[in-house]
């Protein structure tokens, strides 16, 4: 295509947008709203995922060992546990380490435990243990069963927070379902709205299109200004939605980190909220591309009928 033709087409698309500015603004508004809701849903669902992952990584199962377990048995078990599916990490805590941890928790009263301290202290009442964290909390029960079968009688007790795991799994599933469901529904709604708007501008220019057909313009040429229009509206809506959602997220991110961390929950949120800097680029890119895609689709859908001459 020649440069002067390209200039002409872009100019045409722009003129049509300006001439139909009310419709252009309306469709841009609707598309922005759709992108906004989509973006909020996506961010929410991503953060719920991140939060669940975070809780999951803290979600340890503790396997307490009988004192009779020998060093060889412990080593063999450690190797088996590490090789088990769904195990994210496992740590062996010896009897002496268990006392040390407890002493640290007691702080200035740590001397209470002095008589139990030291390697191989026979009076140490605390058991040795494996602390195992899992990758997917949904499979936790299964993983615990597997590891239990390796140890058999060597374990005298297993502590697994399985209800919490189940609850988190449900939360995550609902969040994902709602989030992506909204994305899909609003995507379709946006295409319909955009195509209806462009249908109006196409209708307003149907005579012109008809004349173009009869003087020998190709369909691609006729379509292009409308594509320019649809995609520009889409891209502008993407920029607007980025500003809105990104701005809101930035404010939230800031206020979380500025707040005094008295509340345990707030600390947890701070830990796992996806930072603004990691979100903004994919958000802007996604919004603008998605907006342009929907603008282009809507345009293609609305112009077809008028080209059949």
């Amino acid at each position: 295509m020649k440069w002067s033709s390209f200039q002409y087409l872009v100019k045409q698309g722009w003129h049509s947008m300006v001439a139909n500015r009310l419709m252009t603004l309306a469709s841009m508004g609707v598309l922005t709203a759709c992108l906004f809701i989509t973006g909020v849903a996506a961010l929410l669902s991503l953060n719920v995922n991140s939060f669940v992952d975070y809780l999951g990584s803290k979600n340890e199962v503790v396997f307490f060992l009988e004192d009779t377990a020998t060093d060889e048995q412990v080593q063999a078990l450690a190797a088996q546990i590490d090789a088990t599916d769904n195990v994210a990490a496992s740590t062996y805590i010896s009897k002496a380490q268990a006392v040390e941890e407890m002493r640290q928790d007691l702080g200035e009263n740590s001397d209470l435990l002095d008589s139990f301290a030291g390697e191989d202290n026979p009076s140490n009442p605390l058991p040795a243990s494996f602390r195992v964290s899992v990758e997917d909390p949904a499979l936790m029960d299964q993983t615990v069963q597997t590891i239990r079968s390796y140890g058999g009688d060597l374990f005298y007790r297993v502590e697994a927070p399985s209800e919490l795991g189940d609850a988190m799994v449900t939360v995550r599933r609902v969040a994902n379902l709602v989030g992506w469901g909204l994305v899909a529904v609003l995507g379709v709604v946006s295409v319909v709205v955009i195509s209806n708007t462009i249908k109006l501008t196409v209708f307003a220019r149907r005579k012109e299109i008809n004349i173009m057909k009869f003087v020998g313009a190709t369909n691609a040429f006729i379509r292009l200004p409308f594509f320019v229009e649809g995609m520009t509206v889409g891209a502008l809506a993407g920029v607007l939605a980025t500003a809105l959602v990104g701005g809101g997220y930035y404010a939230m991110d800031r206020s979380f980190h500025a707040a005094d961390s008295y509340s345990v929950l707030l600390v947890e949120f701070q830990q796992c909220m996806i930072p603004f800097s990691a979100v903004i680029l994919p958000l802007a890119g996604g919004f603008i591309l998605f907006g342009m895609f929907i603008g282009g689709m809507g345009c293609a859908a609305s112009i077809r009928r008028h080209l059949k001459v």
């Binding site: 020649k2 004349i211 020998g216 190709t218 369909n219």
Partner: protein, 281 residues
């Protein structure tokens, strides 16, 4: 240039209304440089004839060949290129009301990818040709019907098409202006462009002594060759005027005629090769 072979066009009926046969048994040939009137009453099938040439509609049966394109097998993406070789002056002109005369003509070049430099040279030239150089920057609403029509003609001429088609060129304007546009069309014809004028006005078709194809109820009922303006000797009849033949003296459809004249046949109405399925004298 334009050839119809056993063409039939049926518009499919919708629901209760029956199928409409708009054209049938149409056989004709319009050669390069000819000036032809297509005459018929309202509903005879004239517009359908034009639509088939422009490939706005496809023939139901038979073949339509225009400018070397076989329209029964033409691909959708080739249709724009077919149309660039056909200049059409529509009955309602079809000018874009928001564009000046200049822009309306330039538009037809722009949308076919022609560089701006060429447009700047060509548009004033064709506007001058139709005598509207002074009105280049007027909007259609500021122009008379005849002037609007001449802009439509300028637009039709802009691609230098080998065929110009005018649909009811005298329909929407004063009778005097009708003569004016017809004279322009004749002038264009003398430089070799094939001209097809569609009309329902019998007087108009007869006044110019050109070939007249009459359509009635979807069929070609008469195909009268260009009549001489006065009685001619057989030799005169055999030597066609420059206006009639345009720039196509060696038309393959006609070489037999001088021989026929030499055999002393009366100055019979000339029958072109196109009159295949039609009348014989």
């Amino acid at each position: 240039m334009i050839r119809f072979e056993n063409v039939k066009k049926v518009y499919p009926g919708t629901g209760k209304s029956p199928d409409i046969v708009a054209l049938q048994n149409v056989n004709l040939h319009i050669g390069k440089g000819e000036f032809v009137f297509v005459l018929g009453h309202s509903g005879a099938g004239k517009s359908t004839f034009l639509k088939l040439i422009l490939r706005e509609e496809a023939a139901t049966e038979g073949r339509v060949i225009v400018n070397g394109w076989d329209l029964s097998t033409i691909k959708n993406r080739e249709i724009p290129y077919l149309r660039r070789g056909l200049g059409v002056v529509f009955q309602d002109f079809r000018l874009i009301p928001t564009m000046t005369a200049y822009e309306n003509v330039a538009f037809a070049m722009r949308v076919t990818n022609i560089p701006e430099k060429q447009i700047k040279r060509r548009v004033p030239y064709v506007l001058n040709l139709v005598g509207l150089r002074d009105k280049a920057y007027s909007l259609p609403q500021e122009l008379s019907g005849g002037e609007q029509q001449r802009i439509a003609l300028a637009r039709a001429l802009v691609h230098s098409p080998p065929i110009i088609i005018a649909d009811e060129p005298t329909g929407n304007i004063d009778p005097e202006l009708g003569v004016e546009i017809m004279e322009l069309l004749q002038a264009i014809n003398t430089v070799g462009t094939t001209v097809v004028v569609v009309t329902h006005e019998r007087d108009l078709a007869l006044r110019f002594h050109k070939r007249v194809i009459t359509i009635d109820h979807g069929e070609v009922v008469a195909d009268a060759p260009a009549a001489p303006r006065r009685r001619r000797t057989p030799a005169e009849a055999a030597a066609p005027t420059a206006a009639q033949r345009g720039s196509a003296p060696g038309q393959p459809a006609r070489p037999a005629r001088p021989a026929a004249a030499r055999t002393g046949r009366p100055a019979a109405p000339r029958h072109t090769g196109a009159a295949k399925g039609g009348e014989q004298p």
